[in-house]
């Protein structure tokens, strides 16, 4: 039986930053999973499922400062374990364990764990889902990178969400810092400061560089000239090629990648969805080439939800496990953020916790009516045997009104009467037609038990057709 929208009580609760998923929320979430994995499969993706628990040493040294957010499992004797922090490192661990796998496109949709400050209304949780797609292996330059960006466009098109993909390249960024005069040991900290430009004004970022990180003011200003630039991919390549920057070898090699990419993105019809943004730096240490972050439009650079997908090329990570070096490029969708956006947009007028039954089996009768429970069970069994979703009320003698109300929640009602059952017949009706009173008076048309399954299926397709659900 469907229940009403649940209202949680106070003391009993889920762990901080975690939540239960049920009803409409779960359906919407599964719609996102389905849409995403359909696109992943369209591109030849193979599913991989790794454990939530990983050996602590597998995760060690992969997340920089964010390692403090890893959940460790208590030492109860035996191995030291942690909960996975993302899906990228477990994938790299899997690749390193299977040295005969030289090329693979894999996807994974699963929960990850971070002891971060939760903000549920903005879709930031401690237990949350990631949807990852990665292409591992040696291929010709920038072809897999272009396909990953194409996948992003296809997923958000299918979800009917407008997006912009901000692109940058670690080589260009590092070269730019070198040309501007940043000492090698300060490149990562300065990079982290630059990455804040999507939320923080330039003056503050500059202050952090000069006051906190000890950069010369003229160096900071020079950085500022570059990193506040963004625009179309081709336009930005042209601008950068004209600068003194392009004398730097790292910048040169990054620009060559970006030119190839522009060529491929044009062929794949992705070029209009990207923007080249020199302020994009991404926190994680392991990126080595192209990096990207996806924001929804028209939210632009500042929005409540933050990026809805992100990723990049990481050619060194698998090799750090000492087995084989496998270059990779990948992306991760922040499902809970996408969920928050779609949920806000969706009208909240449908009843929650509804079962998906197609048929409600009920009994009707006059004086001395015994409820026909065994008969309702038999008819339900007949429908289940045919794979039809059917329910009945778990009462020996259910009230008539209660049954008619329950029937209104499903497309088709099968009504049993004593005399009709004895004659091998039941009544069949479109349960949602008319209001309660009418429903109660219209007791449907007689069909034989032998033809019931066929008649129900035919009525269900008629109803589906009329509702345009196909």
């Amino acid at each position: 039986m469907p229940a009403n929208n649940p209202k949680p009580q106070s003391e009993l609760k889920t762990a901080k930053g975690t939540r239960d998923w049920v009803g409409r929320d779960l359906l919407l979430r599964d719609h996102i999973f389905q849409t995403t994995s359909d696109v992943f499969k369209r591109h030849g993706g193979i599913p991989l499922d790794t454990p939530v628990l990983e050996l602590r040493e597998v995760l060690a040294g992969k997340y920089g400062e964010d390692s403090k957010l890893i959940y460790n499992v208590e030492d109860q004797g035996g191995e030291l374990l942690s909960l996975r922090y993302d899906l990228t490192v477990p994938f790299a661990r899997w690749l390193a364990m299977h040295s005969n796998v030289k090329q693979i496109k894999r996807y994974q949709i699963a929960k990850v764990y971070r002891r971060d400050q939760p903000a549920i209304s903005r879709g930031r949780l401690r237990e949350f889902y990631q949807c990852d797609f990665d292409i591992a292996g040696v291929y010709d330059a920038m072809i897999p990178d272009a396909e990953i960006l194409r996948i992003i466009v296809e997923v958000f098109r299918a979800l009917k969400l407008g997006i912009v993909i901000k692109l940058n390249h670690r080589s260009i960024l590092d070269g730019l810092f070198t040309v501007a005069g940043v000492p090698q040991e300060k490149i990562r900290p300065i990079s982290s400061a630059v990455d804040k430009l999507d939320k923080t004004p330039w003056e503050e970022v500059k202050k952090e560089m000069v006051d906190e990180k000890g950069l010369a003011e003229e160096v900071a200003d020079k950085i500022g000239e570059y990193v506040r630039r963004s625009g179309g991919l081709r336009e930005m390549i042209d601008i950068l090629e004209d600068q003194e920057l392009s004398a730097n070898e790292q910048v040169q090699s990054g620009l060559a990648d970006m030119e190839l990419l522009a060529h491929y993105l044009t062929a794949m019809d992705v070029i209009d969805s990207v923007s080249f943004d020199l302020s994009l730096a991404r926190g994680l240490d392991y990126y080595t080439g192209l990096i990207y972050e996806v924001i929804t439009t028209p939210s632009g650079r500042s929005n409540q939800v933050g990026s809805v997908a992100a990723g990049g090329r990481y050619d060194g990570l698998v090799g750090r496990y000492g087995k084989q070096a496998v270059p990779c490029v990948g992306l991760s969708f922040g499902v809970d953020r996408v969920f928050t956006i779609l949920d806000t947009r969706q009208k909240k007028n449908t009843s929650d916790l509804k079962s998906e039954a197609d048929v409600y089996v009920m009994a009707a009768g006059g004086k001395g009516f015994d409820g026909l429970l065994a008969e309702r069970m038999e008819v339900a069994r007949q429908l289940w045997d045919a794979g039809i979703r059917a329910e009945f009320t778990a009462k020996v003698k259910p009230k008539m009104l209660q049954q008619f109300n329950a029937a209104k929640e499903v497309p088709v009602a099968v009504i049993l009467g004593q005399d009709e059952m004895e004659a091998g017949q039941v009544r069949l009706k479109d349960a949602r037609a008319g209001d309660g009173d009418k429903v109660e008076k219209d007791r449907g048309r007689l069909v034989s038990r032998e033809s019931l399954v066929e008649e129900v299926l035919s009525l269900l397709s008629k109803i589906a057709l009329e509702e345009g659900q196909d």
Copy 2:
């Protein structure tokens, strides 16, 4: 591109008792999930997803001696957390938190965690899946219990696995112990000893009762007379009603339940799949009525894999959270054990890690051929836009033989040539026909770019039809 079967290397590994799922294993596992959830939905089940992390106090005191198998998360400041041990207690916690939910059929398919001794070959892991279906709420007696048993039959029928459902009733068992002369405080320990009868001979179980648990020998013998009995449900009810046993009030009430159940199981066509087994006791403390365990036939009482599903009625658990008392009955499928059985049965002759692409886009050409990469991208994009699963080789100038071999992995090949592309045409062929040589010579028939999507879809349905996949 598909890779070969992966061979794991030594040092790097997953945590003890956990495993990665990929390729054919994952497809088989998903088939089990899909089959099970189809049946759950057919019975009006609503999905619920709870967190892996639960507050430690939520799990406390629910699992008796097995509590030592719970994984605790390290105290890193903040709440004390554990990993869920099953899906029943989190469901009870959810019910207790939502006091306006009076009746619900919910299902959940998710990983649970137990620090048990793993035995992977027998499907016993530390991280493993459970598939649970529970009916919560006040209904007329034994109707939900009967539907749960019906669900078990439908799931294993769909999986094409022969089973027997062993039934017992906690009231009958407790009454039987009382009549035999077991002191009240020894009922649970004696019950645990009896539960071992599926793996241990009676003489050893008796020894445990008398020597370890201090039961009088004549009491043990009396228990032995009863608990070694099993048979058809109606037959056993008749036997028990004739005994002195039935004077006991608990036994009486249990037998009344079993009689109702026999009636309902007949209506639902489940009666031939059950056996009444007085030695079935079930370890968990929280069961209060009907209990059951499912074994595969012909394995009978002793088998490597153990029970493949189990459950029972637990009317007191939700009330222990002090909010509302909600009677429940439910079942849990041991997916990994079912997987082990089906996997052993399945022929292992298919290539692993195969992508599910339907179309391979390739280029062919003579001297001076430039690989047509952008053109392959454009054609792939055209197919992706139409929702078709398509791949191409991520090389600027792929070798011809390499492409023809890749093409053999998918149903349809689209072959691009320079002149044909300029004329707005491509070649289309059934890629799996003939051997490598023939494939290479037969370059398919010309179709226009405009009609490509339509032609591909029509060829794909022709191939599917011929393979009888529909």
